[in-house]
């Protein structure tokens, strides 16, 4: 008997799976947009100051700045429910913490390794946490936060608390194996998680095109049936709009979703990166054409926010940042006895 011919497997898969709606750009009120502007400006000025303190030798080790990517953290986190949703990210974490309303003083003091730092000086730039704000770090191993974030989502589902986990990672981490191990389980168990790929185009010095066979990273969940959306990560309102669509999907119990945020970091990978892998012109062109803060500033001006008002905001933020820097420089280092505390929770 003749066998039925094998299905042609090279044909593209046609799916009629449900997909999320195309996100709409968020329509912000003047107050909301002003708030976004303030938060993004705070991150920008904070990071500039951190870079300066690094140069002066107050901050040691690795220090990864978020300059250029501000719209992502601010836009996405503004849509979360701070009471129940959780956030986790990698080592480029200052911006996410500031966007969560964590006091700049304790962040800066952690960067300078002081007892008043959010991790009592024992964590540093890459290892900061605020369980109170449901911010779970701050993880130094590229991609680890994806599996850990999937665990946070597992806990939300297990506890039936209605929370959603948001796990940020970069284009570099998106090539780590554990990301796909996590995707598989998250979709299998319909875990409430938003995977946010902050595609800033460079994994340290290697561009996405040089490292990723599928460089459209929002498609990376396809073989796990996780839908993905590509978002303009330089537009805070697009970010917020995408977050709302993603949250609707996840909160409806449809499982995980991927947001690829197309963004750009202006500074090197870390403070010690001379960034020779891209041209000065490339960076300048992004700054000129699509700076997320300038974009909002223009929209605020359209909304009749005066230059004087904007200047006042700028002055206020500089004051907050300078105070945090002064605090971080002057507050004492941890007591020597702190060396041995917190290794274990219990005594045995």
């Amino acid at each position: 008997m003749a066998k039925a011919p094998a299905r042609k497997t090279t044909e593209p898969a046609k799916t009629n799976r449900e997909r999320p709606e195309e996100p709409k750009r968020f329509e912000a009120s003047k107050e909301q947009l002003l708030e976004f502007y303030k938060q993004m400006l705070l991150i920008r000025r904070f990071e500039e100051k951190a870079g300066q303190l690094y140069g002066l030798g107050f901050i040691g080790g690795f220090c990864h700045l978020y300059i250029g990517q501000e719209a992502v953290a601010v836009g996405l986190q503004s849509a979360l429910d701070g009471e129940k949703d959780s956030v986790i990210t990698g080592y480029r974490d200052h911006g996410h913490m500031l966007a969560y309303g964590i006091d700049p003083k304790v962040i800066m003091a952690e960067l300078t390794g002081r007892a008043a730092g959010i991790s009592r000086g024992k964590g540093g730039s890459m290892h900061m946490f605020s369980t109170e704000k449901k911010f779970y770090g701050g993880h130094g191993i590229v991609g680890a936060q994806v599996a850990l974030g999937t665990g946070l989502a597992f806990a939300h589902k297990y506890n039936e608390d209605g929370g959603v986990a948001m796990a940020y990672f970069g284009d570099g981490a998106s090539n780590q194996g554990q990301v796909y191990e996590s995707f598989n389980m998250a979709e299998l168990w319909k875990l409430p998680i938003i995977y946010v790929i902050e595609n800033n185009q460079y994994a340290m010095g290697t561009s996405v095109n040089r490292s990723s066979s599928e460089d459209q990273l929002y498609r990376r969940g396809e073989s796990f049936r996780i839908p993905g959306i590509q978002v303009d990560g330089m537009d805070v309102l697009a970010c917020r709009g995408a977050a709302e669509e993603a949250l609707a999907w996840v909160r409806a119990g449809k499982g995980p979703i991927i947001l690829e945020m197309k963004t750009y970091r202006y500074r090197g990978h870390s403070m010690s990166d001379p960034a020779k892998y891209r041209s000065r012109e490339e960076v300048q062109s992004v700054r000129d054409k699509s700076d997320p803060i300038e974009q909002v500033k223009r929209e605020l001006e359209d909304m009749k926010v005066t230059e004087a008002e904007l200047k006042a905001i700028e002055a206020e933020i500089r004051k907050v940042v300078n105070e945090s820097a002064d605090f971080a420089e002057q507050t004492p280092e941890p007591d020597a006895s702190e060396l041995y505390t917190d290794v274990l929770v219990e005594s045995y």
């Binding site: 850990l148 597992f154 389980m185 917190d342 045995y348």
Partner: protein, 468 residues
């Protein structure tokens, strides 16, 4: 000539089983692939298939018979043309004698074929402690259970008590555990709390650590700790360091458990003791129990701990029986060694499966007039150095027995501690009895040579007591 059907070994460590059911009767014709019988071990029920064709001549072991030793002739098959009814019973149907654990099967010597054997036979022991744990109240009723059951009971009891506790790993739920340690948990606690994962160690170790950070109390089973090397980043970098890095703000109360150390004839990639690896990491608790009582009491303590725990079991010990106290809530302290045999001439320090080897050696030594004290470390981190040093003070001689590699081992650590803190109590150098410094070989004879034996312990003790 009638073909003898022998009780098969269904796993590398199986020595006997129950002939649960015959699916054929005398006179039935069978061909290869037919299922002849169902055989039960402590782990599972397996089907026994025919390989040869012919007629069932004689059933020699009735269904329902327990403790049928591997290799016992259970039936005969008459080949084509043979008269099944005339097929004689095998001349000397071996009575269910004890498995030839000690007898060296000398290849060729008796002309018989060399059977699969294992060096691990020299390891697994049911030697019980001769000193009762002082933690057990006087007059407590003792019951005999396997290490496997003790571990399962520990998990079940803690799951009943604390709804945050869940068990996750490969084959832990529907399959009832690759080594049947989680048997029955799915039935009692349901799929929300007993979760089968894909084969994805790095992923589920990270997921577990994240769930612990998020407030749950995961028990993550690795099918063996060999596979945990794929996940070691989350054990070390995510679980162990988080409390410190966060200044005590974020905890990771998780238990990573599973079999560790050499198993039987599984070769180098499946036979390794990770005790020294994890014990070197600040921020982790590392436990490696020997008997059922410690397995239960310490696993319960591990699940209750607010710290991340690596709980190292041993596959060869799962089926071993030990007495354990019949108590409603038997929890042992973490970080406390236990004197399992008291003596005055020499201290033998060990942990996990090595304790049985040490106890066996101590028995031999007793016959030769050497009174050995055996200390079971039980917890590898934090290490109970006080108990070791206290014992040394009494005996002035020390041997460490470890089923694992010698370099950078727990044995090395004990030797260093004793040098630093017990030097004046030493009447002889500390000796280490460990596995050979090679990947574990497959060949039975090489495997035997690579692993520790009670004889090697005896020899080391004689050296330090200047009696050899």
């Amino acid at each position: 000539m009638a073909i003898e059907l022998k009780m098969p070994a269904l796993s590398p460590t199986m020595e006997e089983g129950t002939l649960a059911k015959w699916l054929v009767k005398e006179g039935d014709t069978v061909k290869s692939g037919d299922i002849l019988a169902e055989i039960e071990t402590d782990k599972a029920t397996m089907e026994f298939e025919a390989v040869d064709e012919g007629t069932i001549a004689k059933i020699l072991v009735a269904e329902g018979t327990d403790n049928v030793k591997v290799g016992t002739v259970i039936a005969t098959i008459a080949g084509e043309g043979e008269d099944a009814s005339a097929a004689p019973a095998p001349a000397a149907a071996p009575a269910p004698t004890p498995a030839p654990a000690a007898a060296e099967p000398a290849a060729g010597e008796d002309g018989g074929p060399k059977k699969a054997d294992s060096g691990t036979k020299q390891l697994a022991s049911e030697k019980a402690a001769t000193v009762q744990d002082p933690a057990i109240p006087e007059g407590t009723e003792m019951v005999k259970v396997t290490v496997r059951e003790a571990l399962r009971d520990a998990m079940a009891e803690e799951m009943r008590k604390d709804p945050r506790v869940f068990v996750m790993g490969e084959e832990v739920a529907e399959y009832q555990g690759a080594y049947k340690v989680t048997q029955g948990l799915l039935e009692e606690f349901g799929p929300k709390r007993v979760i089968d994962t894909p084969i994805t160690e790095y992923g589920f170790a990270g997921l577990g650590a994240g769930a612990a950070m998020g407030g749950l109390k995961p028990v993550i089973e690795f099918m063996t700790f060999n596979f945990a090397m794929q996940a070691i980043d989350h054990i070390v970098n995510s679980a162990a360091k988080t409390n410190y890095m966060s200044g005590g703000q974020m905890r990771c109360p998780i238990v990573f458990r599973g079999p560790n150390g050499a198993a039987s004839r599984v070769g180098a990639q499946h036979s390794q003791n990770y005790g020294p690896w994890y014990a070197s990491v600040p921020g982790l608790i590392v436990i490696a129990p020997y008997d059922a009582q410690d397995a239960k009491g310490l696993l319960k303590a591990a699940i209750r701990s607010e710290d991340p725990v690596v709980f190292l079991e041993n596959e060869l010990m799962y089926g071993r029986h030990f007495e354990i106290p019949q108590l409603d809530d038997y929890v042992l302290p973490i970080g406390k060694a236990r004197i399992v045999r008291s003596g005055k001439d020499v201290t033998i320090v060990s942990y996990s499966i090595g304790v049985g080897v040490a106890l066996e050696a101590a028995e031999t030594l007793a016959g030769e007039g050497i009174d050995a004290e055996v200390v079971d470390l039980r917890t590898l981190r934090p290490l109970d150095t006080a108990t070791v040093l206290e014992s040394l003070k009494k005996t002035n001689r020390l041997v460490v027995v470890e089923e694992g590699w010698p370099v950078c081992s727990i044995a090395s650590e004990i030797a260093a501690v004793v040098m630093e803190q017990g030097f004046d109590d030493l009447d002889a150098p500390v000796l280490r009895v460990t596995n050979e410094d090679v990947p574990l070989p497959y060949a039975a004879n090489l495997e035997k040579l690579a692993l520790i034996t009670a004889d090697k312990v005896v020899a080391a003790v004689k050296k330090v007591t200047y009696r050899g």
